[in-house]
Assembly symmetry: C2
Homo-oligomer: 452 residues x 2
């Protein structure tokens, strides 16, 4: 790994060599870097040096670096190239990377780029783009080696040798029958240890696990995590082999899904990273904040509805942020448990009910503990026994209800096949803010004669 | 993958066969399951059937299922076995799995269990347990194949054949010199394509990337994500080969780290899942809630300090939850961006400053937008121009400060090598609650004469 501090020095050095036209010096610095680190350097140097940078790299270096750039930079780079450089790169790219690069472009631009490609490769990419977003079909590559069931070990090794520069280097070779259906799998190790004349069907394992091309990528990732796969074949409805998904792409899927969960749970705005421009970042964050502003107004109008109560006992205002804050917090605690639990576990209806019951018990324990504590504190601080009773009993109720809301809402969303993390964060804050104020001021108003 | 609904049916069927003593029926149901799914079934059936379940499995099935159980269940299972069954299982287990199982036990129990093992295996496990928690050394296994630099391809294949049942099946064979230092790597594919008489040093790649045994597991995971590794060798300070880390363990690390980030960001309590008992879950969640309760009291005492202001303009209370809530939310938005950014990117001091500047701009944009909006609403709703000015200008200030707090605090924590997710969630809520109330009531008090 190139350490961050070295990365900055490297950028400066690369800048200098490029400006001085010192190609040899530039290549000396760049050639030992991994494609990922080359991409980092490409994105760090000033834009106007990009053409020079690209000119220095040969086709295979460019092809390897490209997938590590942002999709928009990838397209920009490809479009800046002469066709005689762009075409072989498009043809050589892994087609899942290619599909990812093309996914956000408009249809005409996709056509323009794919029309330049070798027909077979173009068709492969178009086929991948036909699968819905976030399905297994979108994440698969067809750069892998498969053999027909009548192959021998020796012939298989030959085929492997022939495609050795081209195919993704994974552990397995897949075996198909005359209908192109997946019927078995052989590991490189099995090939290595077998006699060349052995028929492939004699050493292959017939218990090959595959995923359907329409499977959600999140479910594919769960299977990799559970079963310790390094790659998994993807099949169409009729059992034909469509492609493979490799573990490196699955790692990207897992990281992306975790980030999406956090974005939704914390309402922090989609895909903001260290390189996002300030206006873009503000623009992505504002919807949530404006939503929250209107939620705040609902809370405000509830409080204004109890203005008379509040005017008589101003001390009630002291405990308002505490009660609303704690209710919101116990709700998001439950929410986090449910959302992360659903990300690694499936849950049946019966288990959902069990979980709600558990959270009810948790809510009661938490409510009684915190409610009793705040009752004593309120009594000592404000010298009013009844204020202690009102604040304490409100907190018991709001904590129980807040805990349940944080559990039930995401479970219902997930039952109806919404992603439970979608909108749950702000949703639960809303619900709990409003409920806690209603309960608090409701109880206070009921006991108003005893409070004053 | 065994679908959830089928899993329940399967549990019922397994239960019945066990109770009826129908071993054959039991094995018929169980034998085609993957070890992960067997472990799920083991944890689902009643405890009293566990001994019967275990009795039915042979040693290799038990060894494969064991790592998928919870650590406590693993120890329980091992302790329930006769020594003649337990010992070979301990010896056969991957030593990283074994280390993970032993890690929470007290030293005497570790000694008792490791003393039963073959001496060499026991020493391997003890060596792994000597590395600090969450380092590469803790996640590595020594079940891999390495060869000496004077080996030929043929001799290497022989060694591979000999260890084929024992070693982790990964793509690579590592080459060491007489000092046991790692000097190269050969892929199975290279072996497959090379002549048996070729010297291994002639086909091996000398540019082998390794990680130091003391590297943080999170950094190891970053390298896998960036460089698309399936395994990486772990070396000691002197360059000797200590073990390898495989991608399946890295996936577990990534999932665990993401869960830990969410736990800390949402203050939801450590390692609560769907199977945690209610009292345990409540016990883990209460510390945060009690902390938040006292934070709420600080807010309460600030409000009580401004009691005179509040008594004169009760309408100020209507906007309290809104201002505190929005400030907290913009803070956690920034926090989420920083924490997730740090999880996949490193950041230099210069870049930190750039990020703080960007968030300042974001804060200003957000502040001006929301502040103007609420000023207009407050003016229209309460019919007081000055109230609009007070609420609006407060929100502008609190949103700018809240955004900065959410950025600066995690950056400082990470500079001083605290995990930025640790305590940041509650910390930022505290800071922002207190700051927002001080600013709001400060401004309101300053303009009090014009408000009434």
């Amino acid at each position: 790994m190139v350490v961050k501090e070295n990365q900055e020095e490297l950028t400066i050095a690369l800048n200098r060599t490029l400006k001085e036209g010192d190609r040899e010096g530039f290549m000396k610095l760049l050639k030992d870097l991994r494609p990922y680190d080359q991409a980092i350097q490409y994105m760090r140097i000033p834009r106007k040096l990009h053409p020079l940078f690209v000119e220095c790299l040969d086709l295979s270096m460019l092809t390897e670096m490209l997938p590590y750039l942002k999709a928009s930079s990838q397209v920009e780079l490809i479009q800046s190239l002469e066709p005689e450089k762009a075409i072989p790169i498009l043809d050589m790219m892994q087609n899942d990377d290619l599909a990812a690069m093309l996914t956000d472009l408009d249809p005409e631009e996709i056509d323009r780029l794919t029309n330049m490609m070798v027909r077979e490769e173009a068709e492969n990419v178009r086929r991948i783009l036909d699968y819905p977003a976030d399905t297994a079909g979108r994440a698969m590559t067809n750069r892998f080696v498969w053999v027909h069931e009548n192959y021998t070990v020796g012939k298989t090794t030959e085929k492997l040798r022939y495609y050795s520069g081209y195919a993704t280097s994974m552990n397995y070779i897949y075996v198909i029958n005359s209908d192109k259906q997946l019927i078995g799998v052989v590991s490189y190790r099995q090939l290595l240890l077998a006699d060349p004349d052995t028929r492939i069907t004699d050493i292959m394992s017939r218990r090959v696990i595959s995923v359907d091309a329409f499977t959600d990528q999140e479910d594919v990732a769960k299977q990799f995590a559970r079963y310790d796969f390094v790659s998994v074949p993807v099949t169409n409805e009729d059992g034909t082999l469509a492609g493979i998904i490799t573990v490196d792409d699955v790692i990207d899927i897992i990281v992306r899904e975790a980030n999406e969960d956090i974005e939704m749970l914390m309402a922090s705005g989609k895909q903001i990273d260290f390189h996002t421009k300030p206006f873009t970042a503000a623009w992505k964050r504002l919807p949530w904040l404006i939503l929250l502003l209107f939620i705040g107004l609902v809370s405000g109008s509830i409080i204004s509805g109890f203005e008379a109560t509040l005017e008589q006992v101003v001390a009630l205002a002291f405990f308002m942020p505490l009660i609303a804050g704690m209710t919101g917090n116990t709700g998001t605690q439950s929410l986090a448990v449910v959302v992360r639990g659903l990300a690694s576990d499936d849950i049946s209806l019966k288990e959902s009910l069990k979980l709600v019951l558990r959270e009810l018990v948790v809510g009661i324990i938490i409510g009684l503990t915190c409610g009793f504590l705040i009752a004593v504190i309120a009594f000592i601080w404000q010298g009013s026994f009844m204020l202690g009773v009102v604040v304490g009993s409100s907190l018991i109720l709001t904590l129980i209800i807040g805990t349940l809301a944080g559990t039930v809402i995401p479970l219902i969303l997930s039952r109806f096949r919404f992603d439970p993390a979608v909108a749950s964060g702000p949703l639960i804050t809303t619900v709990n803010d409003i409920l806690s104020l209603l309960i608090y001021f409701g109880i206070a108003t009921a006991f108003l004669s005893k409070l004053t």
